[in-house]
Amino acid sequence: MVKPTRVTNNIRRLRFDAGEMTQAELADRVAVTRQTVMAIELGRYSPSLELAFQIAEVFGVPLEDVFQYPKPGE
């Protein structure tokens, strides 16, 4: 069975902080569909490393401010 990603993210808050950027706007900026942005936000899809860096670049923050991964034991 498909196992959802354990990667968490702050994309929704970052979009809000960036002038309430829409999912569609972010999707256009990183060349994916709006549904992919939504899936990433909801933790249903773990993006490629390149896409993760592109998203961080859009918000002008380091990668770890956008995505987090639980430490062993958490």
Binding site: V2, T33, Q35, T36, A39, G43, R44, S48
Partner: protein
């Protein structure tokens, strides 16, 4: 729903619909007689190959026209889901192909060998499509 997900739905619906149409046409032609004696090649070519291709193309065109504002590009998530579905379908097809292989080795009638192959292709395509839809819905 992305363009790719909609196209997957179209493929799955067409696969089921054309199979039902084929089975109905074959049974009607048999008319209660031994089904393995019924000429099936023309029906299989029409319902198993011709109509599914045409209807799928038309269906995708219709879906594209209805949701023309949505992006029709295939992004990395679409490609990953497509690979996953095709991987499952490929494994399933390889396993199911043992049935017609066994039938051929047992010198079975062409009717049964052809239908075992047809059902193997149909089932693998359908399950592959269902896997993609589930992954689109539940996450990847």
């Amino acid at each position: 729903m992305t363009f790719e997900e909609r196209s997957t739905w179209v493929g799955a619906i067409v696969a089921v619909g054309t199979f039902i149409a084929y089975a109905t046409a074959l049974l009607a032609r048999a008319g209660g007689a031994d089904i393995s004696t019924v000429p099936f090649v023309d029906l299989m070519l029409i319902y198993g190959i011709g109509i599914p291709i045409v209807v799928t193309i038309v269906g995708v065109i219709v879906v594209t026209a209805i949701w023309h504002r949505d992006s029709q590009t295939k992004d990395q998530r679409d490609k990953a889901i497509d690979r996953h579905g095709e991987y499952v379908a490929g494994i399933l097809l390889a396993v199911l192909m043992f049935v017609p292989f066994g039938l051929a080795l047992a010198d079975a009638d062409t009717f049964w060998i052809a239908h075992a192959m047809y059902l193997a292709f149909l089932t693998s395509a359908l399950i592959g499509g269902i896997v993609k839809i589930v992954v689109y819905r539940r996450g990847f």
